[in-house]
């Protein structure tokens, strides 16, 4: 059942993103990123994200994103996103952005959790409607995983709750 619901949502997101490319009101972005772990146990994340934005004005846009986050386990984040250009869009445009959502863990021995990524970045226009960007921010990703130990005398299981805080860095492409 949950797989069906998840597929429906993915289809809806894909439809929105395909439509997004057809109008000026919509833009589309993809990025890869990593981070500097600030919490213990530490884990350096690797992220790949795709986002669709609806441009409410020249400066403010809202959107939704998904992708893949690799921590101790692979996670699929689903998040809402808001982006504000600090100055009127030009060749170089600094901006503020915040994504908030929830990550799903496909692994049967893990659960995802709350996701948040406020950041500050700069985008550079390379040609009409095509930009590259770089962003620095803070990323919080909660995660639960099963840890096990097999010994001659016993086996043991413990459900470890992790709250990964990191300084995030992302580079990407807007079109």
């Amino acid at each position: 059942m949950k797989k069906i619901i998840f597929l429906i949502i993915l289809c809806c997101c894909t439809t929105i993103m395909v439509k997004a490319q057809r109008t000026d009101r919509f833009t589309y972005a993809t990025s890869i990123g990593t981070g500097l772990a600030m919490s213990e146990p530490a884990n350096t994340p690797f992220t790949w994200q795709v986002l669709g934005y609806y441009n409410i004005s020249k400066r403010f846009s809202i959107g939704a994103g998904t992708g893949l986050s690799i921590y101790e386990k692979a996670l699929i984040p689903l998040f809402a996103d808001a982006k504000y250009n600090i100055v009127k869009p030009g060749r170089i445009t600094p901006y503020l952005e915040c994504g908030v959502g929830y990550s799903i863990a496909p692994d049967k021995n893990a659960n995802g959790g709350f996701y948040m990524n406020p950041s500050i970045g700069v985008q550079y226009s390379i040609c009409e409607n095509k930009k590259i960007f770089f962003a620095l921010g803070y990323e919080l990703q909660e995660l639960e995983r099963l840890k096990t130990q097999e010994k001659p005398l016993f086996s043991a299981e413990f459900s470890e709750r992790l709250s990964h805080s990191s300084v995030s860095a992302k580079v990407g492409f807007v079109f």
């Binding site: 005398l153 459900s159 470890e160």
Partner: protein, 233 residues
């Protein structure tokens, strides 16, 4: 769409531990002092959960095996410890385990972290461990050692000097020493629930693995946990 999204997310939360008949569930229930202010810098405090070790002994008091220990002591990943290896953190477990490292301490090191038990992030509240004993393990003792760093009180002050009986590692040290609980388990007795009893506190400065039954100097340390029970499913 948003409704579907929430339904989907909620349904993706799985129960990671499933208990079956005969499994042993060690439940540590948090007390009022589970989280303790740890000074970071400029008067900023961080709410820290305690350091914990859970291990098994035979009925004669011989160490059998570590079940669970918190990540920081298992990997020596202390924050703001001022170089202190924190031998006073969980000394009864360290000495019971009996593994001596190159610096003469019984503490795992960064280079040689604990591998013979589960190590994990310290739980922010109550938690359970599942044990599935082998057929030959019918009578045993579950021991739990718990400690907060820098929980100084009148009996174990920050100002205590090295060599004093209440010295606990200096200003970055333990304060009140670790406390130790034990539950005697007999799987053949027919009993289904065993409560762990507080049996004393550990060496304040971590110089030995002794247990001290006099707990009159302890205050907040006695409320780190509310109850520890071992239930047979």
């Amino acid at each position: 769409m948003i409704y579907l999204w929430f339904i989907s997310l909620c349904s993706c939360q799985k129960e990671l531990i499933n208990y079956e008949k005969g499994d042993v569930k060690v439940s540590v229930e948090q007390g009022n002092e589970w989280l303790h202010d740890f000074p970071l810098l400029l008067g900023i405090n961080k709410k820290n959960p305690p350091q914990i070790a859970i291990w098994l002994e035979d009925t004669h008091g011989n160490y059998l095996s570590t079940v669970y220990v918190t990540h920081k002591i298992a990997t020596q990943s202390w924050q703001a410890s001022g170089g202190n290896r924190r031998k006073e953190a969980l000394p009864h477990w360290c000495y019971s385990r009996g593994v001596k490292y190159s610096d003469g301490l019984y503490l795992p090191t960064k280079k040689e972290p604990l591998t013979d038990g589960i190590s994990g992030a310290t739980p922010q509240g109550s938690f359970d461990i599942k044990l599935n004993p082998a057929g030959s393990l019918n009578q045993f003792v579950v021991k739990i050692e718990i400690n907060h760093s820098t929980d100084f009180n009148e009996a174990f002050p920050k100002s205590a000097k090295e060599g004093d009986p209440n010295y606990s590692g200096g200003k970055e040290g333990s304060g009140q020493p670790a406390i130790v609980y034990a539950a005697h388990i007999d799987l053949l007795s027919g009993e289904k629930s065993f409560e762990a009893k507080l049996i004393g506190h550990s060496s304040p400065d971590g110089s030995s693995g002794n247990i001290y039954e006099d707990i009159s100097g302890l205050t907040t340390a006695l409320h780190i946990v509310k109850r520890i029970t071992v239930n047979i499913q």
